[in-house]
């Protein structure tokens, strides 16, 4: 199963795509980091792949 992640450009915290998709727009979970991360930050192809296989990334 392809695992997609995104790194916060400010603090380097790595966030799984399932977390980004859950929130769509979220404050970076890195402590004291004020960056805003978006599911849309992922490459379009990665977003597409995730959405096509969304069920696998759920519990």
């Amino acid at each position: 199963m392809r695992i997609i992640t995104h790194s916060c450009p400010t603090c380097g915290t790595i966030v799984a795509a399932n977390e980004l998709e859950d929130n769509r727009v979220m404050k970076c979970p890195g402590l004291d980091c004020q960056d805003v991360l978006r599911f849309d930050d992922l490459p379009e192809e990665a977003q597409q792949h995730f959405l096509e296989h969304r069920g696998r990334y759920q519990l």
Binding site: I14, A16, G30, L59
Partner: protein, 357 residues
């Protein structure tokens, strides 16, 4: 070599303690379990560590570990979110790991001998993965490895009815980056998770040799209250315990006692080690603290007899009874009801608490 430290999970078997925090921060001998893992990785020469966070306790873990500098390591946080399995957690660390080998360490596990020998064994050959094994009495309850004479794994079997060996996987692994391709090819198991044993099996079937290292000395998964007590006992058995605080004349002490400057054993208290007492603890007259007990910071004990227990901290304990084999959460108080009417015990007990009265 890098380290990937798994710190997710719900901690359901440790409720109610884990209602308010992650299981990896429950203290053993007054030190969060997760810190033992960081120290083991550092001791093995691993200073770049990715800490994988789940849905619970993200801020608390980051507040404790920070950027890792206080441990002499460099920490990157990796947010897994949903607990989709150990292989998913490893896969989330791919960008952090890059082309390096890495140790994957379950953050709620604690073991006597660390991971240095596991890493050395892996580095001595050209392996796709290395797994830590331990002999167990009930192999039917574990993932079991069969190994050849050279210690190479020939088969992994989950909870076998007829186990070929009694060598159980204990949740410490070393991987080459080849594992990421194996994870790419995985499908979720019947329980909806990406299983790390499936990834190892795939590596094996792809022709990679899998190293094994049999861990001697104890190992504990601290997932349940009784495991925390057992780990506390095992650590106290071997830890250097220094008495720096005040032991008043008239107090009776025996054995090894960890007592920092800010804590005091008052006259009339009896303390028998090995025990660990954290900062700003007062043991008042009439208190007995018996072996294999850890008392967390900012606690005051009076009249109580307590042994083989863990008090996480911030507690006022002043009943005149005996507490044994117990785990008390942060700021939990136990007071006397002797002079209260009507007679009887008065409880304010959280969800999933366990009381034996």
């Amino acid at each position: 070599m890098k380290g990937v430290l798994l710190s997710g999970g719900t901690g359901s078997r440790l409720r109610p303690i884990t209602h308010t925090g992650p299981k990896q921060l429950v203290p053993v001998a007054n030190k969060p379990v997760l810190e033992y893992a960081i120290e083991d990785l550092k001791e093995a020469g691993i200073t770049e560590i990715g800490v994988v966070l789940g849905n619970k306790g993200r801020d608390e873990i980051q507040e404790l570990l920070g950027d890792g500098s206080k441990y002499g390591v460099d920490i990157t946080y990796i947010v897994q979110g949903n607990p989709l399995g150990l292989a998913h957690a490893a896969g989330c660390a791919r960008d952090f790991v890059g082309d390096d080998d890495f140790v994957m360490y379950l953050g709620d596990n604690i073991l006597k001998s660390g991971v240095t020998e596991l890493v050395k064994s892996f580095e001595a050959g050209d392996y796709g993965a290395g797994i830590a094994l331990q002999e167990v009495d009930n192999p039917q309850a574990f993932g079991i490895a069969d190994v050849d004479d050279q210690g190479n794994v020939t088969e992994l079997i989950e909870k076998p009815d007829h186990p070929p060996t009694n060598l159980a996987l204990i949740g410490m692994y070393v991987f080459s980056p080849a594992v990421f391709n194996a994870i790419d090819d995985l499908e979720p198991s019947w329980r909806g998770e990406l299983e790390i044993t499936d990834a190892i099996q795939d590596l094996f079937e792809d022709g990679y040799e899998i190293d094994s290292h049999v861990v001697t000395g104890w190992w504990k998964d601290t997932g349940k209250p009784e495991d925390i007590l057992e780990a506390n006992r095992l650590v106290l058995e071997e830890k250097d315990l220094t008495t720096a605080g005040v032991v008043e004349e008239g107090a009776e002490t025996d054995g090894r006692i960890e007592l920092p400057d800010s804590s005091i054993i008052e006259s009339g208290a009896v303390v028998r080690g090995p025990i660990s007492i954290a900062e700003n603890v007062v043991l008042r007259s009439g208190t007995y603290v018996g072996p294999y007990t850890s008392i967390g910071a900012n606690s005051t004990l009076e009249n109580i007899h307590i042994e083989n227990s863990v008090v996480i901290g911030g507690s006022q304990i002043s009943a005149s009874g005996r507490i044994v084999d117990s785990l008390l959460g942060k700021n939990a108080n136990v007071e006397s009801a002797e002079e209260l009417l009507p007679e009887g015990r008065r409880l304010v007990v959280g969800e999933n608490s366990q009381l034996k009265l």
